[in-house]
Symmetry: C2
Subunit: 140 residues, 2 copies
DNA sequence: TAATAATTTGGAATATATGCAAATAATTTG
DNA sequence: CAAATTATTTGCATATATTCCAAATTATTA
């Protein structure tokens, strides 16, 4: 198990990990660049950063996959996104607006806060953006 | 009246404006550097940025004050902080934790979202961090 | 006015993110 | 299978945000 604070990665890198989790297995850096609307050279560079930090394995010219640690983080990131989106939807934001809004700030919300919020909500399993798992929720 | 999206300024610059509003009138760049724990040269530079963008007037060696536009923004920033803190406190975060958490991400929450949240809350006038005004709330 | 304190300027560094052009590797095709 | 094409990476180069240190400048105090 990893100690996750939730503040380890920049917003963009969080996006990368979430996308890698969604795609699963070996992902081309070009797929990432298409999805995130950046130049292929940019996604390669960012992936190299993530690789050096241990979140992904990168086989040059072949593809990228999450490490075990990377997967743990990615799962937390997806949950965080979903919990925050659900929270905002409780305050009148549409699913789309909640999702867009959360995407902008989610990287700056700590795991402790998410665990607390998740607990206060009664550990919901469905959000407006997708399903919520609780394997990483310390208060479950 | 200004069109405020809420996403105009970086986190640090938001802090600067909120501090200037709290201190009021002419504020020394050194006071800012003390409050925000940065070198005086850093606060001078940031203040110069804010000055070029029209948020503050800076009289070198004398002090800084908010422009009318800067004040509008600063008031929105304080309200945004308070509304978001109140929201998190509804999900089990202590006042302090809510405040700390919000400080990290508030700069990335849009005014539209804040107006919606504020409306869903019934336009509260008191938060865990301070009072809330509604002069700038479009849904009030 | 001279010494001291406050403030600003100039230079430099880090982190994050980006794209273009050239080089390299993989894949397709004839 | 070799040549052509496509995909991917590397090497610059740039931009923004933030920071600090040392030197220069201005204000204040003694």
């Amino acid at each position: 198990m990893q100690e996750i604070t939730g503040l380890e990665l920049s917003p963009k890198k969080v996006e990368y990990l979430k996308f890698l989790l969604k795609k699963g297995d070996l992902v081309k850096t070009t797929d990432i660049s298409t999805e995130l609307n950046v130049d292929p050279s940019t996604s390669t560079k960012t992936i190299n950063d993530l690789s050096e930090s241990g979140y992904v394995d990168h086989i040059p010219y072949r593809g990228v996959r999450l490490t075990e640690i990377g997967r743990e983080f990615a799962e937390f990131f997806v949950n965080r996104h979903n919990i925050l989106s659900l929270m905002l939807s409780h305050y009148g934001l549409s699913s789309d607006d909640a999702c867009i809004e959360v995407s902008r700030f989610e990287a700056f919300v700590s795991k402790d806060a998410i665990d607390t919020i998740c607990g206060a909500m009664g550990h919901p399993t469905v959000s407006v953006c997708g399903k919520i798992k609780h394997s990483s929720c310390n208060l479950h």
